[in-house]
């Protein structure tokens, strides 16, 4: 299945605003992050497990245990700093 990925703030600067990836059916968001980490050294650095990275599925904050569906919109970004 194909999922759409978006990046914001420092992750967008490192990886670009969006990309898509093919994943096995039923993959979790954590599995997507693992697959992205394997994509390039830039991905490995930006999405490293040692870094504070938050994620959203279909524009709602979530954790990495959620399961993805075809055409899901997943976003990765640093901790938020509005207000």
């Amino acid at each position: 299945m194909k999922v759409q990925i978006r990046y914001f703030a420092s992750l967008r600067e490192a990886l670009g605003p969006r990309e898509s990836l093919d994943l096995p059916e039923g993959s979790t968001l954590g599995a997507l992050r693992d697959a992205l980490i394997d994509c390039s050294p830039g991905h490995a650095q930006a999405l490293a497990r040692s870094r504070a990275v938050r994620c959203a599925l279909n524009q709602r904050l979530c954790d990495e245990s959620v399961r993805l569906e075809e055409n899901a919109e997943v976003a990765f970004f640093p901790p938020v700093t509005g207000g």
Partner: protein, 158 residues
Amino acid sequence: MVERVSVRHADFDLSAEVAALRAGDGGVGAVVAFVGTVREHSGGQEISRMELEHYPGMTEAAIEAMIDAAAQRFEIRAARVVHRVGELLPSEQIVLVAVSSAHRGQAFLACEFLMDYLKTQAPFWKKESTPEGARWVDARSSDDAALERWGLRSGNAA
């Protein structure tokens, strides 16, 4: 009914926002408004400008959900959130949270609840320009602690 959430570059007028918030509601006895502004210094460095990025669509939905949560917890009559994005200069207004209620206590609480929620759960990111270059602002664990006072887990700066 006034639109509850506005995310935009344009500035806001506090008086006009408060007037619109309570227009036509004779039950309002209190309005509390918070305005956040751009500081000219941060971490000992001069700030020449600030760039605010957000996640269009998610931002508005997240703030709408926060207002729903505030309305469930507190006896408020209306709420309005305006958050600016794009390039802002020192002293400019960034954010408005205004809440109306019958009595002041609930309006004070709801306004602070909304700000604590927004600081840690709405997808905005600030980038400051300093004499040494531009840098993304770090999230503060004190903002997580502020949300946790309301019994909500933040996990933002973690």
